[in-house]
């Protein structure tokens, strides 16, 4: 048998097999992918390490106690003695994010149902692009709109100045609507089609099918969207900062000024010098944000595991 020896296509393993073109190609491809992954991992770890090393300094060597920061009510970093109570920020971040999710979740679920069950064609061609457009609007624009539309509206209808927790939550809810809706729509689309047919064949109405079968079955995935939405709201700084009023205290009503972790960092970071206690305390806030994000990711993982079961 006289097979032509060729290495162009890799060829049969022959004398030159060890360093054939395909072997080099494989090695080059693998090296490239490994390099990219390594770069990514190193970046992530150095960010985490940097934030942690700065954020832990106040607790380790500058005499601030973790308890005072997490539960303290007064934030006076330049006072004498300096106080680093971050509870108002934590409270503001949590309440605005969760409120935003409470507003966005029903809207997003309904939009998902509309796009998958009720008018799939219109949903795909008109509603989905419109909602995806929401995701592309810069947050400063959201803040601006919130300041000139939401805040005056709240001022007219409710007591107070209009700025505050509720204004922040409303602006955030619009911002996270695309996340909730997109993930929800994907979840509903990926349900096995036999499920719906099975329900209709039992004589169920469309509403019964949606309410009693589709929503409960897709619930873990829908909640994944909500949690990712909360995570996004939690990390959003600019738009909230523009409408929330930035008063470092725990508000007693939805219409009182408050502030969030992110806005206090953006507001104060320019006025501190690197390495100072104040600056490091802001890093501690960043560390808290990071840990919260980890928590959200963890929750999402748990939900996904429930979907797979």
């Amino acid at each position: 048998m006289n097979l032509p020896v060729t290495n162009k296509q890799g060829g049969p393993p022959g004398k030159s097999g060890k360093w054939g073109k395909h072997v080099i190609e494989e090695a080059r491809g693998r090296a490239f992918v490994y390099f990219c992954v390594l770069l990514m991992v190193v970046t992530i770890f150095s960010i985490v390490f940097f934030i942690a090393s700065r954020g832990l300094t106040p607790f380790i060597s500058q005499g601030v106690s973790v308890k005072d920061m997490l539960f303290g009510l007064k934030w006076k970093p330049e006072g004498n003695p300096p106080l680093f109570g971050a509870l108002p920020f934590l409270f503001g971040s949590f309440v605005t994010s969760v409120l935003a999710a409470l507003i966005a979740a029903p809207l997003g679920f309904c939009a998902s149902i509309f796009m998958t069950e009720i008018m799939p064609k219109f949903g795909r061609t008109a509603l989905q692009p419109a909602i995806e457009l929401l995701a592309g609007i810069p947050s400063v624009v959201y803040g601006f709109v919130g300041l000139s539309v939401v805040v005056p509206f709240l001022r007219d209808v409710f007591p107070g100045q209009g700025i505050g927790i509720l204004a922040g939550a409303i602006v955030l809810s619009v911002m996270i609507l695309p996340t909730v809706t997109t993930i929800g729509t994907d979840a509903l689309r990926s349900l096995p089609s036999g499920l719906k047919e099975g329900s209709y064949a039992l004589g169920a109405t469309r509403w019964q099918t949606i309410y009693r079968l589709i929503l409960p079955t897709a619930l873990p995935s829908l909640l994944t969207g909500v949690v990712l939405g909360i995570a996004r709201a939690f990390g959003e700084a600019l738009a909230v900062q523009m409408v929330i009023g930035n008063a470092p205290h725990i508000p007693r009503s939805l219409f009182e000024s408050a502030t969030t972790l992110t806005s206090i960092i953006t507001l104060e970071m320019g006025n501190t010098t690197s390495g100072s206690l104040h600056n490091n305390a802001l890093w501690s806030l960043a560390l808290i944000l990071l840990l919260m994000t980890f928590l959200f990711v963890f929750v999402v993982r748990m939900l996904e595991r429930r979907v797979k079961r």
């Binding site: 036999g194 499920l195 047919e197 099975g198 209709y200 039992l202 004589g203």
Partner: protein, 252 residues
Amino acid sequence: MSAQGLSTNNLSVFYGEKQAVKKVSMDFEERSVTALIGPSGCGKSTFLRSLNRMNDLISGARIEGEVWIGDKNICDPHTDVVRLRQRIGMVWQKPNPFHKSIYENIAFGPRYHGVKGRKQLDEIVETCLRKTALWDEVKDRLSQSGLALSGGQQQRLCIARSLAVQPNILLMDEPASALDPVSTAKIEELISELKKDYTIVIVTHNMQQAARVSDRTAFFFLGDLIEYDDTQKMFTNPSKKSTDDYISGRFG
């Protein structure tokens, strides 16, 4: 014709421009099994789905002609489709239990239709599981997910589920083609048992299955009903040549 008799009159189904079923007229015998056979794409599944208006769910599907159940033409646009489907159970090729417990899978339909009492539901669940010979296998784990069952058990669960809303007619679209031989035998046994109480229409690709379980057989080809007769006669002495060719495996 009695109050529950099922028949079609010049029934045509179109998907857009394409005609999938061409003017089929059939009478189904009550409390017996009718098998629909024919090569893939011959319109038998489409025909089956039009018997309980499931084709309504497919956009672009259009029905002409009549389907009679008793003295009602169910193709009439004023038909209450929800009531109709309650009276006609359906089972698919791929078992599609709900992502719920075995108990809830069965109780689901009755709940839709307003059965609330725990005792009543318990009773329905047990009756339906017994009818499908599943009771002894699952009675100790009714709260487990229906998805945890084997394929054959899932299919029997789906049959039990459709019985729970007390239909008179059962439509089965290749109910055993995704199952192993043992499970298939169980489903066939079940079908023979169920025909004492229900009118059953079954689509199957398996000639032996049609011969084993059905009383009457209809052969479809390219949307036309070619021949419809007693199963015995269809398999031993069909009157059309193409029926004979298909049954003996010369085409299709």
